[in-house]
Amino acid sequence: MIELTSTEIDTQRILDDAYRADCGAVVLFLGTTRQWTKDRETDHLVYDAYQAMAVSKLEELKRAAIDRWPVKHVAIVHRLGRVDIGKASVAVVVASPHREAAFEAAKWLIDELKRQVPIWKQEHWTSQAPSWIHPPSSPGNPTSNPPT
């Protein structure tokens, strides 16, 4: 499953979908909203995406992971719109017969998502104007929330 969603990520459903009789390992990565970036406090985040391309890139990453590792199931869900502190903005789940492949593929997928998929995060700070995060340099913005 590849999904961009404006509602809370249902991790239980994602994990239930990942169980497979031929798999012994499931790895789930959740990216969660940090409250503090050094001494600046985040109130919430807002995500924007080039949706059609983001979905197509995520499908491409999923196929690449399945080609590269012996993984049987990949799902990626990313939030759009407002995401509050302590909530997951992204979930990546991989199931494979053995655990090494599941760890490696999950790590690779979130790394590539952060590199290639046209989704953007806007930090809404408690005490200054919101800023879109365009790493490594965000002209006119405070330093970006470092990557998770």
């Binding site: 080039y50 990313h78 995060i133 365009h134």
Partner: protein, 81 residues
């Protein structure tokens, strides 16, 4: 010919629009488009320097030729996850 370029995130805020339309010569390259965007919207220049372009939902290099019925997008550095 006329091309429409999709904008996102800070680029959208700067241009105050989710896309811009430009008049370009026939069969421009992405590099020519990039320059024209900067000339037309000087406020976008800084962000243009670190942005990629996508045509029909694939990243393309600066020497790619743009056709008018393609879906063209300016992709500032991404920060999903």
């Amino acid at each position: 010919m006329k091309v429409r370029i999709l904008l996102f995130a800070a680029a959208q805020d700067i241009a105050q629009n989710s896309s811009i339309e430009l008049d370009v010569g026939t069969d421009p390259t992405v590099s020519e488009l990039r320059k024209l965007v900067g000339d037309t919207y000087p406020a976008l220049r800084a962000l243009l320097g670190s942005s990629r372009f996508a045509i029909d939902r694939e990243f393309v290099s600066d020497d790619t030729i743009v056709s008018s019925h393609s879906e063209i997008a300016m992709i500032p550095p991404v920060s999903g996850g």
